[in-house]
């Protein structure tokens, strides 16, 4: 009887330790609160769902600092993740609040997602929406009494891809001078040979299908094999827009990423290196798309973001 009681105790203790540690890990903050902020009216105020176009998704949230004493402010735009098919700016509230607490006007912009209801949406159309949103963001900030004179753009995953496109392709037409970009795990190039995790390097049909959806142009397997697809994907390929004038960039990627290929970050980094751009490139060697196994690298990435914001976004 006594042995049975101890056996039950061992089982219960094991299960409690197993489940408890799993829940702790799931809810742990890799930054230990370093990049969170207390958010109340002494820090800033959020204005949500401000419109920038006719589409249902054409909305942005604006976070403005409580301190209105500056002559001009820097704008930091953070674009949400979600594989171009899901996600919402509300998911980045903590990041936007933290940026606002640093003295920036921060904006999260929604874009029309590729869904059954919106089959024509693409990375290209989303990038055009982000571009179209910027004058509205600037006007809304100024209407609230915040004059903007510079900006940074950032994002995670799909948002990182769109941030890179804006910073590299659209900076010349931006209503504010773009000073820098930071992003994590966003596709930065579209070369079939780098997309082997989805088999695109072995299947022109699969490559034509995925790159058609992403570029918004109808590509054929022949376009893939002939290399003609490269012109079609140029508008969404950050690496193809890098010049010696490209803005400083802070990037972070997971070496085992299953959602977007790690190899696709290489042409981007090669282009930044070749053009002498001021950039930092962090690789989470044991992680995938969530950078989940390399907290130290993730912290180094965020520390570099702060360093670059201080360097390029201050007066």
């Amino acid at each position: 009887m006594k042995t049975l009681k101890w056996g039950l105790l061992y089982t219960a203790a094991f299960l409690a330790a197993f489940v408890g540690s799993a829940l702790l890990k799931l809810n742990s903050d890799p930054t230990h609160g370093k990049y969170n902020t207390r958010w109340d009216e002494t820090i800033g105020k959020a204005y949500t769902d401000l419109p920038y176009g006719e589409g249902a998704a054409n909305k942005f949230d604006l976070y403005v600092p409580a301190d209105k004493s500056q002559d001009a402010y820097g704008l930091v735009v953070y674009l949400h993740a979600g594989g171009f098919t899901s996600g919402d700016k509300a998911g980045d509230a903590e990041m936007l609040e933290w940026l606002c607490s640093k003295g920036y006007v921060a904006a999260g912009i929604n874009y029309t997602l590729f869904t059954e209801e919106n089959p024509d949406a693409s990375v290209y159309s989303q990038s055009e929406e982000i571009k179209a949103a910027m004058p509205y963001v600037v006007a809304a900030a100024e209407k609230l009494g915040y004059k903007l004179d510079r900006m940074a753009i950032a994002g995670g995953s799909a948002g990182g891809c769109l941030a890179l496109i804006y910073a590299y392709r659209d900076a010349d037409t931006s209503p504010l001078p773009v000073r820098m970009v930071f992003e994590a795990v966003g596709p930065g190039s579209f070369h079939v040979e780098d997309w082997g995790i989805f088999g695109l390097d072995q299947s022109p049909e699969a490559a034509a299908g995925l790159f058609s959806v992403m570029s918004g142009q109808a590509l054929t397997p022949e376009d893939i094999t002939s290399g003609a697809y490269l012109d079609a994907v140029k508008p969404i390929s950050a690496d193809r827009w890098v010049t010696k004038d490209t803005v400083p960039s802070v990037l972070c990627y997971g070496a085992h990423d299953k959602m977007q290929p790690f190899a696709a970050s290489k042409p981007l980094v090669a282009a930044l290196e070749k053009n002498g751009v001021d950039y930092r490139y962090f690789v989470a060697e044991h992680s995938g798309h969530g950078l989940q196994n390399d907290n130290k690298v993730y912290m180094e990435y965020l520390d570099a973001v702060v360093e670059y914001l201080d360097k390029y976004m201050k007066d």
Binding site: W6, L9, Y10, A13, F14, L15, A16, A17, F18, V19, G20, S21, A22, L24, K25, L26, G254, H256, D257, K258, M259, A284, E285, H286, S287, G288, H289, G290, Q292, N293, D294, N295, K296, V297
Partner: protein, 44 residues
């Protein structure tokens, strides 16, 4: 060492093993979804 002492030590070992396996299980599930290695990087 009494039998009770031995049982308490075994209980502590079982809790430690459960704690480690719980974290590794979460890590492996995330690795399957997102990519990643079971060992290296974060301690657990």
């Amino acid at each position: 060492m009494t039998m009770t002492s031995k049982r308490i030590i075994l209980l502590a070992v079982i809790i430690a093993v459960g704690f480690v396996l719980g974290r590794l299980a979460v890590r492996e599930v995330l690795n399957l979804l997102l990519g990643g290695t079971l060992f290296g990087g974060n301690i657990l």
